[in-house]
């Protein structure tokens, strides 16, 4: 937790030394290595040829990212349906995937589009009940306030869908502004602006919890 007494330490996010997305464990999928899909290109090629093992390896490689992203945008109630739709689109679209972007970026883009469209069609969530926390596990690390994490998840679902998407991509998934912009289909400046507004709204929603969190 940042030291509140020293402004110099309330700093560039030294607290966030999370691994870059490419280094996260779910990227190093032992299943894909065992079947000879050591590179992304090999995995894609195998999937494009209809290799079922490759498709399953790809699913396991991206399932948490896709599911986490859609859950935090559309809520737990609809997450399975949207995630299923995303992966169907992934596998049906792979034959046409040209590699203009990284596979992960492409899948994220599909996920965000699917989730935002679903959220828009279902209308704004006016009420977020406990079902929103159905899939959300307890946060790691005893030194962090678990209640804050749960309230953060709840507050996230109160944001407009677009704000939710950019905040999840950047602050939770750890993507760069450039990656977020590519995924959202906007300029980097727009992505940063959206993120700033999203954070401001979250602070308003979480205000009392953030102040209380200072004591931890």
């Amino acid at each position: 937790m940042p030291d509140s007494t020293d402004p110099a330490k309330v700093d560039e996010r030294t607290v966030n030394t999370a691994l870059a997305p490419a280094d996260r464990p779910e990227f190093r999928n032992p299943r894909s290595s065992k079947r000879g899909f050591d590179t992304e290109a090999a995995l894609i090629a195998a999937c494009q040829q209809g290799d079922h093992a490759a498709m399953e390896a790809l699913y396991h490689q991206f399932k948490r990212r896709v599911f986490g992203l859609v859950t935090r945008i559309v809520g737990a109630g609809d997450a399975e349906e949207v995630a299923q739709d995303v992966f169907v689109r992934v596998f049906r679209g792979l034959p046409k995937f040209r590699g203009d972007s990284a596979l992960g970026t492409w899948i994220y883009r599909l996920s965000v589009n699917a989730a935002l469209t679903h959220a828009t069609k279902r209308g704004r969530r006016r009420h977020v009940g406990d079902e929103a926390l159905q899939y959300i596990p307890a946060p790691d690390g005893p030194e962090r306030d678990p209640r804050l994490a749960q309230r953060l998840e709840r507050a996230l679902l109160k944001l407009p869908a677009g704000y939710r998407a950019v905040l999840v991509l950047h602050d939770i998934e750890g993507l760069s502004h450039e990656e977020c912009a590519r995924i959202m289909g906007c300029r980097v400046g727009t992505s940063k602006s959206q993120l700033h507004k999203a954070r401001a709204k979250m602070r308003v929603l979480l205000g009392p919890e953030l102040s209380a969190g200072r004591a931890h």
Binding site: M1, P2, S4, P7, V10, D11, E12, R13, V15, N16, A18, E56, Y59, K63, R64, R65, V66, F67, T71, R72, A79, E80, Q84, D85, F87, V88, R89, F91, R92, N113, H118, T120, K121, G123, Y135, I136, A138, P139, D140, G141, L148, A149, E153, P160, G162, L167, D171, I172, G185, K192, S193, H196, K197, R199, R203, L206, G207, L210, G213, R214
Partner: protein, 305 residues
């Protein structure tokens, strides 16, 4: 010199490490002096720390099975549960996908129908001896062979082909029209839903902003109506020329233009829903010439400003 009003604007960039050294030092300098700003930035850092610590969410085990089932269904029925590709490449545009093969098939069918019609109207080969016909002696006619009841095999076969082509053409046209109608309805439904979502937000907007927004929406409606009229005229002209069986609601270029308007409006409404009123200028698309009906109206608007 950084002031309190700058802190909110720069806080995101600061915690992301995006300020240059000079501005970052000025930022820290202000926080040393201002407890409120220090508190504010600390709250943001706390929030981001919590966000970055959120665990990955494990999907249920049944998801892979559901995906496989979904793939199977999609292969069987075609993946029609598609929402509109608002931000995607237009290569998936359903009308463009159908337009060229539909046009080619229509031309083939019409040419085939025309030639068969000509063959149908001409006397059967057995009723006339063609010069150089190797089978002329066999083709010697009797009155009975000229009747339809005893039409030669190739004419009967041509009639069968004509019938099956007509059936195929009718089925294709029906399918194509249904696709186009479904696409129209999907666009309009999506626009309606987005407008409904924004109606709530707009209660908090200023009157000026609402007026500008309404002007923009009216512009989209006018553009769409114009293209709809063009399509209606094309269909009427087609009926006059080719009879009531020819339903020309496809008209690729006119329909593409109409769908361009719908897509532009959807993108506009979506941005308004995401950005909200602050910092969103509904006239920016007009000024930038991003108008679904083409650039003419945009140029006019630019000229007016």
């Amino acid at each position: 010199m950084i002031r309190c009003r700058d802190i909110d604007r720069l806080a995101s960039a600061y915690v992301d490490g995006e300020l240059d050294d000079r501005r970052a030092e000025a930022f820290r300098g202000h926080m040393r002096q201002c407890g409120a700003c220090r508190q504010s930035v600390h709250e943001m850092a706390t929030m981001l720390d919590a966000a970055s610590s959120l665990s990955a969410i494990e999907p249920p085990a049944r998801l892979w099975r559901d995906i496989q089932r979904g793939l199977g269904e999609a292969q069987r029925t075609g993946h029609r549960r598609d929402w509109l590709p608002w931000r995607w490449s237009r290569q998936h545009h359903p009308v463009r996908l159908f337009a060229m093969p539909a046009l080619a098939l229509t031309l083939v069918v019409v040419a085939g129908w025309w030639s068969l019609r000509s063959a149908d109207e001409s006397p059967p080969r057995t009723a006339a001896v063609q010069p150089g016909d190797a089978h002329a002696d066999k083709a010697e006619t009797t009155p009975e062979t000229t009747s339809n009841r005893h039409a030669p095999t190739h004419v009967a076969a041509a009639s069968d082909i004509d019938m099956s082509l007509s059936r195929g053409q009718g089925t294709f046209v029906t399918e194509r029209n249904r696709e186009v109608h479904d696409t129209d309805r999907l666009y309009l439904t999506t626009i309606g839903e987005l407008r409904q979502i924004l109606d709530d937000d707009r209660k908090d907007w200023s009157p000026d902003l609402n007026t500008l927004f309404d002007q923009r929406l009216h512009h989209f409606e006018k553009a769409a109506h114009r293209h709809q009229q063009l399509l209606a005229m094309a269909a009427t002209t087609s009926v006059h020329r080719h009879g009531p069986r020819r339903d020309d609601i496809l008209e690729p270029s006119a329909r593409d233009a109409l769908y361009d308007v719908y897509r532009a409006e959807i993108e506009f409404l979506q941005r308004a829903a995401i950005d909200g009123p602050s910092g969103h200028d509904p006239m920016s698309e007009v000024n930038a010439g991003v108008i679904g009906d083409g650039s003419q109206a945009g140029q006019r608007q630019k000229g007016q400003q």
